[in-house]
């Protein structure tokens, strides 16, 4: 089975769907006679389809209508092509995962009413994205390689797992600091993903900039990853990938390893 890369170039993001075969082993043991045990190792090859959605460019990946449309299409595509062993990893290039809604775009509207409209428009566009991610028929992993603020943080938290760089980047609900309220679905998302009341208060009512290690302690579901330097992900070429990926480094590769773990753990979803 050939690994197959289908880059789907869209404005501001790329989705690469890579599939390959993974060698997995599990052993069964059969009692042949009363004092003999034979152990069989079954080697099987499972198809693993990992979808890597990357927010490209070195900017702060603001969630404006154009990016959100691309995101919506990308998720739709991923969903349509999903198989029993699919997973999604969402990540970004550059210093930012996403800095939230495109406030500059909103503010460049003609009047105060038009500014308000643009803001509400983005709020309305983002809500189905969150819904799409939550209902995606596969495990989802946000590999947060940079700052994730406001709606950008919500984007990360819409994933089942959040991996962060241990050395850089924060999760940050910036709204209070810039004098904005949240939409109700932001609150619902934080409430469902952040376990402790004190942590929810610190995130929402104190606009705390949460680093990877703090996020761990404070029950915001993240896992530390070895320091994600750059963009180490490489397709290992045609052939069969073996587990665990021996040179796995970096946040994205951690996400991938997570994917391998999930798949070998037998997690499969019926689309």
């Amino acid at each position: 089975m050939d690994p197959h890369t289908q880059p789907i170039p869209m404005l501001h993001l790329i989705v690469e769907c890579i599939w390959g075969a993974i060698l997995g082993t599990h052993s069964t043991s059969q009692k042949q006679s009363s004092n003999q045990r034979n152990t069989h190792h079954n080697v099987h090859v499972r198809e693993a389809r990992r979808n890597i959605l990357t927010l490209t460019g070195d900017d702060d990946h603001r969630l404006n209508p154009r990016l959100m449309d691309s995101l919506r299409s990308a998720l739709q595509q991923v969903k349509e092509q999903s198989t029993r062993s699919s997973a999604l990893i969402t990540t970004a290039r550059g210093k930012f995962f996403s800095n939230g809604f495109d406030l500059a775009w909103a503010q460049s509207a003609g009047s105060a009413a038009a500014v308000e409209d643009r803001l509400l428009h983005m709020v309305d566009l983002f809500k189905p994205e969150v819904a799409d991610l939550i209902s995606l028929p596969m495990p989802t992993i946000a590999a947060v390689t940079g700052h994730a603020a406001a709606a950008g943080m919500m984007l990360a938290m819409s994933h089942d797992y959040v991996l962060m760089r241990s050395d850089k980047g924060v999760l940050y609900m910036s709204e209070l600091d810039i004098g904005m309220k949240f939409p109700d679905y932001f609150t619902a998302l934080v409430r469902s993903k952040v376990g402790s009341a004190a942590a929810r208060r610190d995130v929402m009512l104190r606009a705390k900039k949460v680093t990877a290690s703090e996020a761990r302690v404070r029950n915001v579901r993240t896992r530390l990853s070895p320091s994600g330097k750059g963009w180490p992900y490489q397709d290992s070429g045609p052939g069969v990938d073996s587990y665990p990926c021996p040179r796995a480094q970096g946040t994205v590769a951690s996400g991938e390893r997570q994917v391998y773990e999930l798949i070998l753990g037998g997690i499969a979803f019926d689309s």
Binding site: A199, R201, L205
Partner: protein
């Protein structure tokens, strides 16, 4: 009963006197008035610290005044419950950060009052937070459980507070995430509250936005606080 003073941009509400600060209608009305004043006098960046004199922060509703009888239908208990509920709603909608500086015991309704604040700092060497109801065979009204549920995080903590009637010291409460920090002595506790208040003020938040975010955060709780009003068998 209670005093309200202003130190810079910090409002300090103190339950005065060295008694148990039982939440009877008079004290509850005084607290409500004080909060009303805070709301109208609050400037762009303000914060509220609530504290108390003496050995008790508050030991709960004034059950002596209520006399005996089934708490579910006792009108005096219902009255105090109604007034406290109203104060909790005020605290949730208050357009400024709120800090409880717990300098003594806070039990039952007193603990509800404490955790209705955004932050709690507490005296380390004396005093408990304590939902005493289970120990004295009193049912907790649904709205009060809703307050605890909204403010006390992990399931085990909730269980220990409500279902185990744990007397929590400051250190224990800090571990459960209910209390920010523990301090030696009443004065140091209040000073810590002032420091926290000033730190929050430095963020220069819009009080109006702050209050709205808080109301959104606790929207479920606000609904639970309202529901009882329409409840026919009007328990607390």
């Amino acid at each position: 009963m209670c005093s309200l003073e202003k130190r810079g941009n910090l409002f300090i509400l103190t339950l005065t006197g060295s008694d148990e600060h039982r939440l009877n209608p008079t004290l509850l009305d005084a607290i409500k008035s004080a909060l009303h004043r805070v709301r109208s006098e609050a400037t762009a960046s303000s914060a509220l610290i609530t504290t108390a004199h003496g050995k008790f922060f508050s030991n709960g509703l004034d059950l002596d005044w209520a006399k005996s009888g089934d708490p579910e239908i006792n009108p005096r208990i219902q009255l105090m419950g109604f007034k406290l509920r109203s104060i909790v709603k005020d605290l949730i909608s208050l357009p400024l950060p709120t800090i409880a500086a717990v300098t003594g015991h806070a039990s039952a309704a007193g603990m509800i009052f404490v955790v209705s604040h955004d932050y709690v700092v507490m005296r380390r060497d004396r005093g408990f937070l304590y939902m005493s109801e289970l120990d004295v065979d009193l049912p907790i009204p649904p709205w009060a459980t809703a307050v605890i549920r909204a403010k006390v995080g992990p399931a085990a903590a909730l269980r220990d507070v409500l279902l185990r009637s744990e007397k929590l010291t400051a250190a224990e409460a800090a571990k459960l995430g209910i209390v920010e920090s523990a301090h030696d002595g009443a004065e140091e506790t209040v000073r810590a509250a002032v420091r926290l208040g000033e730190e929050l003020l430095r963020r220069k938040w819009d009080g109006h936005v702050y209050g709205q975010i808080r109301m959104e955060m606790f929207s479920d709780l606000l609904r639970a606080l309202d529901f009882s009003e329409n409840h026919v068998a009007s328990r607390l």
